[in-house]
């Protein structure tokens, strides 16, 4: 029988330490990649059915422009909100797990951030392809709009940018919420939303009392979809940084 004293591991390279956490988020792709596309598919199938019902009930002359209103539809919005949920779930569940495997909080967070950027790329690609098909087939042959609504911009590059930036925002906002959850559980998240809510109400009050709604409106119009999307990057960066700072002092606990 040979006895080999367990040697200390050679330190893994920093990149490897980070990417293995990234891979961990995709080890079972059901939550991050499977379920969201399935739900999106179901919503799409539902929309197609409704469009078809409307379309077939109309005479050929009436069909022209009948589904124009769907340009302002929000049926693909769910996917953005859902990405926030995915980020919250991913962190709150894999954080205690990964730390047991001897991962540092820093490597964990950087690896997770990389996973979120990868998710944003994957979903942006998906929505872009579907949006392009939608445009090319003149709204799935019926003039309907689901994947390329007007708020995502008018040209394909615009839509790609806006979609990507929105995904980033929701994923990193989710990671900040998850970090609050991991550290302070339900009490913390409640406090977090009370504070965010108070800030929003404060901003609304400030705008109202200074009579600057018109100015806000014109600024938003001036910025345009692209400008507003670009500014969201500031919030994304703040969320991402806050998540990092909070998680670095967090301790995994069992109880919810």
């Amino acid at each position: 029988m040979t006895t080999t004293t367990t040697a200390l591991a050679q330190p893994a390279s920093p990149l490897k330490r980070i990417t293995r956490v990234t891979k961990l988020h995709f080890a079972n792709p059901w939550t991050t990649l499977g379920l969201p596309w399935i739900i999106l598919g179901v919503i799409f199938a539902g929309s197609l059915t409704i469009w078809w019902l409307i379309y077939s009930a109309l005479s050929p002359e009436q069909r022209e422009g009948a589904l124009e209103g769907t340009e302002f539809g929000g049926s693909s919005f769910f996917i953005f909100i859902y990405m926030m949920v995915v980020a919250i779930q991913a962190i709150s569940i894999t954080f205690p797990f990964a730390l047991g495997y001897g991962v540092t909080r820093r490597d964990y967070y950087l690896g997770s951030a990389l996973a979120f950027i990868a998710l944003a790329v994957i979903y942006t690609t998906g929505l872009t392809v579907l949006g392009a098909i939608e445009k090319a087939t003149n709204g799935w042959g019926m003039g309907g709009t689901m994947f390329a609504p007007i708020y995502f911009g008018e040209s394909a590059p615009e839509r790609i940018f806006v979609t990507f930036v929105l995904f980033l925002f929701f994923l990193f906002f989710g990671s900040a919420i998850a970090a609050v959850w991991v550290r302070w559980k339900a009490t913390g998240v409640t406090m977090f939303f009370i504070i965010v809510g108070a800030l929003l109400v404060g901003l609304i009050a400030l705008t109202t009392f200074t009579d600057s709604w018109a100015a806000v409106g014109s600024t938003l119009v001036d910025l345009g979809v692209l400008g507003v999307a670009a500014w969201s990057l500031v919030l994304t960066a703040i969320s991402g940084f806050a998540g990092f700072v909070l998680l670095r002092r967090a301790t995994p606990r069992n109880a919810a």
Binding site: A7, A12, R20, G100, G102, V103, T251
Partner: protein
Amino acid sequence: MTPTIEVTNLSKHFGKVNAVNDVSFTVEENKIYGLLGRNGAGKTTLMQLLTGQEFASSGTISLFGQPPVENAKVLQNTCFIKESQRYPEDFRPKDVFKTAPWFFANWDQEFADRLIADFRLPLDRRIKKLSRGQLSSIGVIVGLASRAPLTFFDEPYLGLDAVARQIFYDRLLEDYATHPRTVILSTHLIDEVSNLLEHVLVIDDGKLLINEDAETLRNRATNVVGMKTAVEAFIGNREVLHRDGIGGLSSVTVAGLSESERRDAHAAGLELSPVSLQQLIIELTRTETKEFEASA
């Protein structure tokens, strides 16, 4: 050479609660340590401190000569399996065993496969559908197959039946013989693990009560059984840890006896028997509590 773990005056307070209170000890390389104590004694907090999951209020910790907090170089040599360890909900056991090798340089897949068969763990079932015992066996398998130079098991066998627990002890000992490493095992089931342990740390109310070689500890006390008068005559002013009696018979647990004292006892017609580690720890912690209360 540097001890695997060196802890000096370590304390952790949560508000007014002293979960770990001024604890100092060292852990030597390639030994199996038992971290014993009652519920809420501070075992888990101590393990979390050692693995950098919890932040110390004061004192220092060194693992392989370095502080563990956020230290990838040190932490990648550790594996910490917690009581009711949580796994990502949509994972199946096979996802756990697919990802674990990414994190442990010494992972042994063959050993893992053998353990999976030993524990009869279904690989394809979702984590949330597994029983408590099956969940625990995942942790035990990861902890063993990872072969981390420093492995922590915190009450790893919640819900495991006696057969499965015995498999765990057997495999741990076998594998430890061929791949020596440092293991820290926290448990309530002291008698079950008592043959496994080489060194015992007992923590109570955040304080380290006992830090002793298991062999020395086992010799620390003896049961003396016989006629009440003979027993009383023999023990004299000795420190009595525990006293029991029925009618004219008496059974007394006393602190360690020398060879000549043993001979005297036999000559007096008394029967001597070793005290189980569990019994001993119960009695020692009880005594210390009493002493503590008396001095308070």
